[in-house]
Symmetry: C2
Subunit: 576 residues, 2 copies
């Protein structure tokens, strides 16, 4: 170092060195402790995870059993019920009941999936975690072995440094001592030479000269000896210093390597595969959870499909099919001629002709008034039904808000506070709905009375008109073809649901009905031809809501407009 630095004493240097080495050794011990602590933390984490999944598996199994019991309770009830026997055949299954069956299916599915989850936790996830734990323990031991080897190397190299430093100190001390001895000799020699010169110039005595010469020689010899000793020691010191400097470089390089790379490598050995194995374990858990979700979603989609396919008309027809005897139109009342009366049609000869003509005119004008009145009632009915329909199909079922997890607070909104379910709101809505419904029924009765009267008068009117117009050549009643009417069940065979739902108004339904009904209905329908507004299916069947609203809510359980003659496929009047 530069000359102005304080010169350290040997003991100080050794002391500093030993402190430095002790600090390193302390760090090495602490590094092992840190590694051990980390392994312990990992083992604790793995143990916690195992305990967690063991308990979660139990929860899943409990939940699964609960769901299974629940599904089984209602499935058993269904199996033993009367309805089930009725609806056993798929084509007879009501769309609403189908939804209920799918709710139960979904419950069974959830039950099975949660049992599977439990199984996977117990027989896969927990095993993996145990294996990761074994690996942590084993790798910690092996890494510590590696670390011990590294530390031994550090101890060895610092010991060597100590040795070469001490050697340098020794040789340098000897070199310094030899140098001072040499210097002392040189000083004495100088003194001797000075004395000799002084003597030779001032006081030269023969007796003294040889004595003095021998002492000078002796002095020179000693100086040479000391010079040789000094050179030898200096070389030894140079070698020792070189060794010290080289070992210093090697030691610093090794210490640097240890701190920069080896300690990190030791930790890497300890970490080997830990993250990968833990990740695979958690991915197993995720795979299980995601799979459960997929399965759950499939089930919910099936149920949603069934809800979409809920079909008020289809269900009505299914029920009527199943009770075809009850809903089958009866044989028509035929004209029964009395005691061989051969007249079997309305007679419009004189003297009744005038009266019939008058009656016909009266009927015509009465019908005109009645139809206008009833048409007004029908319009009110339609509007009321539209209002009811809006109430019945309000989309108030979105509860997703209740599942919003706010990031800041962990609270969730109370589900019962949502707009639909506030008690006041519900009560108001229901009161409103029932009021409208009551009004609808009042109007419907009024409409029914009107249309009943109209249908009777119309029948009489049409018969009179025919009689008065065509004379007595043929009667619409007696000319009915003797063909058998179609059987109710056979004719309205259930169509594939997809067609039923989606092609109701743009499929070939019209043509189908035309073909079906034409031969049987022509005479009967001729009664209605002149008053299509009356004998059309009454309002709840023919509301004039726009087609777009049907498309938007295809199965909301509300009656939909249908081409009028569909119900005639029932077989108008059976003549069997």
């Amino acid at each position: 170092m530069s000359s102005h630095t304080r010169v350290k004493k040997d003991k100080e240097i050794i002391g500093d060195y030993e402190t430095q080495v002790k600090e390193i050794r302390n760090q090495l011990v602490e590094q092992f402790r840190c590694l051990e602590q980390q392994s312990e933390s990992r083992l604790q984490l793995l143990q916690d995870l195992q305990e967690f999944f063991r308990r979660k598996a139990e929860l899943q199994l409990e939940y699964s059993r609960g769901l299974d019991k629940l599904a089984e309770r209602f499935s058993g009830k269904i199996r033993s019920s009367r309805e089930h026997q009725h609806f056993k055949k798929d084509q007879n299954l009501l769309s609403t009941v189908n939804c209920w069956y799918l709710v139960l299916n979904q419950t069974r599915r959830e039950s099975r999936d949660h049992a599977t989850l439990s199984d996977l936790y117990n027989n896969n996830v927990i095993f993996r975690l145990a294996h990761v734990g074994e690996d942590v323990i084993r790798l910690f031991k092996k890494s510590k072995d590696i670390g011990v080897q590294m530390h031994e190397e550090l101890v060895k190299v610092t010991n060597e440094l100590y040795t070469v430093m001490k050697t340098y100190h020794m040789y340098h001390a000897e070199s310094v001592s030899a140098e001072s001895k040499l210097k002392e000799a040189e000083k004495q020699e100088e003194k001797q030479i000075g004395k000799a010169n002084e003597v030779s110039t001032s006081l030269m005595r023969h007796d003294d000269r040889p004595q003095r010469r021998s002492s000078v020689k002796k002095m020179e010899k000693m100086k040479e000896k000391r010079q040789a000793k000094y050179s030898e020691n200096k070389l030894k010191c140079t070698k020792a210093r070189n060794d010290y400097l080289l070992n210093l470089a090697a030691t610093n390089a090794l210490v640097a390597k240890y701190y920069i790379h080896d300690v990190s490598d030791m930790i890497d050995c300890c970490d080997m595969g830990y993250h990968a194995s833990l990740a695979r374990t958690l991915r197993t858990y995720l795979s299980a959870e995601y799979s459960l979700e997929t399965s759950r979603h499939e089930g919910l989609d099936q149920l949603e499909g069934a809800v979409d396919a809920m079909d008020v008309r289809g269900d009505k027809h299914r029920v009527m099919d199943m009770h075809s005897q009850i809903f089958c139109p009866p044989t028509r009342f035929d004209y029964q001629p009395h005691m061989g009366d051969e007249v079997c049609q309305v007679s419009a000869q004189q003297p009744v002709q005038t009266e019939l003509l008058m009656r016909h005119h009266q009927l015509q004008s009465r019908l005109g008034t009645l139809k206008i009145e009833n048409e007004e009632v029908r319009k009110t009915l339609d509007a009321t039904m539209q209002t009811l329909q809006d109430m019945l199909t309000v989309e108030d079922f979105d509860v997703s808000e209740a599942f919003q997890h706010s990031q800041s607070t962990e609270s969730v909104k109370s589900a019962s506070s949502d707009s639909y379910m506030s008690k006041v709101n519900v009560a108001k809505r229901r009161a409103n709905q029932q009021e409208t419904e009551g009004f609808y029924f009042t109007k419907f009765k009024e409409y029914l009375n009107g249309s009943n009267l109209i249908v009777k008068l119309q029948a009489k009117h049409d018969l009179l008109k025919q009689t008065l117009g065509e004379g007595e050549n043929n009667s619409p009643v007696t000319m009915l073809p003797p063909t058998l009417p179609p059987k109710p069940g056979r004719m309205r065979k259930p169509r594939p649901r997809s067609i039923f739902n989606h092609k109701l108004f743009n499929g070939n339904m019209e043509a189908f009905i035309k073909v079906l009904t034409a031969p049987y209905l022509a005479p009967m329908w001729s009664l209605c031809v002149h008053s299509p507004s009356i004998l059309q299916p009454p309002p709840i069947l023919h509301h004039s809501h726009p087609p777009s609203s049907h498309m938007a809510s295809p199965s909301l359980g509300l009656p939909r407009p249908l081409p009028r003659p569909i119900s005639t496929a029932f077989g108008l009047f059976s003549q069997a």
Copy 2:
């Protein structure tokens, strides 16, 4: 009817008619019964659904509580743990521990969501079902009222038909009787006329003539009377028949209307809103279930993100940061000149010069051999690590098969039978892995010994080379700049994770490190410049697997190659 049909007697006609009416009335009664039955079925279904959701709400709540208790148990443990205090700050949170926290978060989230589900079942779904039930009862009553009105109309019209038919029978009978009386009168008149003609031609007596004339006149009068009676009755009969025929038409029209439309309308009244309301209820259920699923999925995605972000290097650095005192490189060993020794570098003057030169050459050749040998060991190490890595990152975590629901059978595959978890398979794999790992450690020790030796010899070699080449003008040791070394924790500040994960090799990391390390490391790294293969981070840090494999599995917990100088940011040798 045509003349060849058998003439029915009055009683037979009345009997037939009454049978026919009775059949219709039976049907009407059965129709009501059917409507009632349907309403009862609906009420039963609604009751079952309510009971189902009530019980399911209980299950959800139980499950929710179990999950909450489970999460709380471990969360409490974490809060009170020592590690938590350590890792409380986000930047100190280990990526593995973060996953564990997210597993618990997910559990808490599931707990809250299932509680919400329970709440929605109890306070929304069940209420809706109850309302649907009320509607069913009310609408059945109102529809039945409508039906009663319809039936009364049918009864009225058939009664009327009966009356007009009876009237027709009566008048026809009278007409027939009047006709026969008239015919009898005509026959008698004919007989009288015939008799008169016979008398007038064969035996004409004056006395008889006025007597006969008066009897003929009487006869004629009777005939006229009978004729008038007959005409009157015939007219009455015609009117009655016309009335009968008109009423027949009206009755048939009304019966047809009832069977074709009215009965269907009555059912529609009963159905009003049932499907729509039930659909809305089930959609509420579906909305809740789908929302739970969405929330669940969000949580799982968060966890998956954390698993993806698992970061073995980042965690290592976090641990080392937290224990910076332990891993901070110590002060370097400085050259300590002995007792004012002013020489502070390797001396290459004669007579040691030759020896140093020889030593330098020996070191050079020894290093050459050692490096070749160690490079071979390194290659073996790399290959072994690659094998290990393949074992540790095998993608064996897909358990989705366990959740496949076969449509035909309801069984699911046993989760424990899957390929990963078969016991034999697992044991074999683990034995294989441990064998490879053992081999890796053996080779790593060998490599460590080699590289330790090389680093020491290299340091000496480089110092000698410098000394011999440059003379004694400057020493690399004493010329170290007096700058303070960087503090370990400060320099390797945690970078944003995204950069750390994705931009490790193509970001500006290289430049960053160059800037960081240049001032401090130049002299130290100069020691390594000549042997880059040795002082590179040892194999577990620099495996030469292709970059594509990192991209595919970015965080599998395996060490990844990193630009060598990163660990030097630790602050090479602190000189404080």
